[in-house]
Symmetry: C2
Subunit: 444 residues, 2 copies
């Protein structure tokens, strides 16, 4: 039967609830339980049927989480949720790409039940396998909460922009880094100082590596790129640089040049294959993404029909993440089951990966040089030899004894050529620090 001709009964409000098992009762898990309780009537109207939590699993049954667990089934072992007769769909909020989370995913899908997760590491690593298992079972694998929290960007890419060949998708995907960069700019304090503050405020982990070194952004980018370009997530293909080396000087020069520094994850289809990179980027102040500040996330998608779109919102936290999880549950309750990666798992290709050296773009360069005759001529010659065309050059201050900053921006050029020029420049006796390079990301 043609699916646009389903009988009317399928489309009305049903009294048969979708029964949810929640694995992991941290802040997000508690948020999911709360939303489904507090907004039960509204969600039933939107979902066409009630969506109710029937069972939960966590480490410590006795812990006070600020919500009542009365009337809910309890499992010490998360995987047991999948087997419960009173659970139709499992929400996984345990975390970790392997171990209990992955075991639960396989157990749930293996039993022909839908699976919802916020677990970006697991989806980035095992997403296609799990998507195939979901399709075999004819159930949903949904992971809206895995990328950019409250922003329904996966739904937007997969459904809202389904008419478009995506040419580039990029964004601010880590709130911790955006908070740190925003604070550095507005207070003039350096990275280490702001990181300490972010840790005190709970915006950064005690071990901040995952965030500030770009790994979290890379996980999310791999998922965005998979949806946008119909390929398998490929963390290994991503060039990753974090924000530890961004200095106040660079932030100030950026503003002076009309840019703002953001940690971006960028995926772009090029003649050399799929380019995926995570690094601090200079974005023009005229670009909306430049004005996404503090802990907010944003994703820009460029489609051949729609042009440039941007969505922004909070990328983490109880409310935004639980909002995304519940949205997935509403889709499942309605019977809207789309392939997690836009196309069936079997159709997911492995795009050739464009090496970072093949990247074409403009660059910001900061050199610390001794102000000696001929230095700028030597620098300019090194760029000219590699056919790197300069857009601007600022030398700040004059000193016979101290190094002074020389800041350059280039027109679009091949990264390999730029790197060769920088190698030559770094070897000049008057250049006393390694050149600092930040890529410029222009918007359309």
């Amino acid at each position: 039967m043609n699916s646009s001709h389903k009988p009317a009964a399928d489309r009305r409000v049903s009294t048969t609830p979708l029964r949810v098992g929640v694995a992991g009762l941290g802040t997000v898990g508690v948020g999911v339980v709360e939303i489904l309780r507090d907004h039960a009537a509204m969600i039933a109207a939107r979902a066409g049927r009630p969506v109710v939590v029937t069972a939960v699993s966590a480490r410590d049954q006795g812990r006070d989480r600020g919500i009542s667990l009365a009337g809910l089934g309890w499992e010490d072992d998360a995987a047991a949720l999948a087997a419960r007769d009173d659970v139709d769909v499992v929400v996984e909020l345990i975390g970790g790409s392997e171990g209990p989370a992955l075991h639960l995913a396989r157990a749930t899908l293996g039993r022909g039940k839908a699976f919802v997760t916020a677990n970006k590491a697991m989806i980035a690593t095992h997403g296609p396998e799990l998507a195939a298992a979901a399709e075999d079972a004819g159930v949903a694998l949904a992971f809206e909460a895995a990328v950019a929290g409250g922003i329904p960007i996966l739904k937007t890419l997969r459904e809202g922009l389904a008419a478009n060949a995506i040419t580039r998708v990029y964004g601010i995907l880590n709130g911790t880094c955006n908070y740190i960069l925003t604070e550095m700019r507005t207070t003039g304090r350096d990275f280490a100082d702001v990181l300490t503050q972010a840790q005190a405020l709970g915006y950064a982990e005690a071990d901040p590596t995952f965030d500030v070194d770009g790994i979290d952004t890379a996980h999310k980018l791999s998922i965005l790129a998979a949806l946008a370009f119909g390929g398998r997530p490929d963390i290994g293909a991503i060039h990753v640089e974090g924000i530890r080396h961004v200095t106040i000087d660079d932030i100030r020069f950026a503003e002076e040049l009309g840019f703002r520094i953001k940690l971006l994850g960028v995926a772009r289809m090029t003649d050399h294959g799929l380019e995926q990179r995570v690094h601090p980027s200079m974005v023009p102040l005229s670009a909306p993404v430049a004005h996404v500040e503090d802990v907010f996330n944003a994703v820009v998608a460029e489609g051949d029909a729609v042009g440039t779109t941007m969505s922004q919102g909070r990328g983490a936290g109880r409310g935004p993440t639980a909002s995304a999880v519940v949205a997935d549950l509403v889709d499942i309750a309605r019977g809207c089951v789309t392939p997690g990666f836009s196309v069936p798992a079997a159709a997911l290709g492995q795009h050739p990966s464009a090496p970072i050296e093949a990247h074409q773009g403009a660059f910001y360069i900061r050199l610390m040089v001794l102000d000696q005759p001929g230095v700028l001529a030597d620098v300019a010659r090194a760029f000219a030899v590699e056919h790197v065309s300069l857009e601007s050059l600022i030398q700040r201050g004059r000193s016979a004894v101290e190094a002074v900053p020389v800041v350059l921006t280039t027109h679009a050029t091949a990264e390999a050529a730029l790197r060769r020029a920088l190698d030559v420049i770094a070897a000049l006796p008057a250049v006393i620090e390694p050149p600092r390079m930040i890529r410029i990301e222009r918007s359309l």
Copy 2:
């Protein structure tokens, strides 16, 4: 059968196409035909089955539209598309809230076929009736293209933010007005001058009333509010002011005060009922919506779980509008049929309407006064009597013979009180022009 347990066969790629009839072959209709042809394989992969145009209807079969109509059925009468055996879903791009468009909608849904439209006027006027007909037939009524073109904001509100009680939704919904305001600000030219230019560029109609007087924005706002708050669209309840009276002076004072002037449509649930208004608004430069320029649209949605989100993109034109139409077709091809207004038509309430006088907010006021002793005291007294608290006051220039501008901003106050104060101020002998008032819209 539980809808999360559908047999696997339902979820795989099918070879049964969804057959589309397109009524109206203007720029958007041609765009829809082109996208479905040019991206046939990609869309089949995303939709789970091919989506093909089988028949079209327009006024003049012989006209060159830059695409081949060979192999497509032709109907002189659009309504005949609904009756064709080779049409599963009709796309209506005729326009107009009544007449052929409405007739086609009723005919299509009456035959149990899905109906997709970009027709905001018709949906604002007849949306609930058509939604009820669609639900009776168990088919989709979809109108993503009716609001904010390429931005999938209806899907975002209806599905992506389904977990949230929406507290406020607002945005820049008319590209013509945003272009005019952006040009006025960046070039310093006045409204009439920029309007003429916009007409020459095709950004504004020969009769610009619909756009610049806020009517188009009101249509779109009524639909956004319906989805966000689960009520019937209610154009009559919207307070509407256009941009004809925005002056260069106001734009300059706005910048000086840290604001930018945007034509916003705002819907907010208040203690007095649903407040809906369309008017030029001062938005803080710190708000992302302030940086949405030119013909771009943006919608801000505030939800109780997700917080503040914003989506932006092109609101009109062939590509963006066709992108939205095709996205609706992909959903229908997949069998994802959600109620057009988020909840079943029968559940759509009629929210009590909050009068504009009950609006609570901050205001910008510009007075033209003769610089005589005691004028400012009289003005200040008029506000004090109404308990309107001033935030700032700027008097620009001094002249014994000419009027000088006095610009004030208020703290949040009731609009009724503000209006009473302005009535008193307008009657002061030294105030020689009617006071100019622009509401300030703060973001969270």
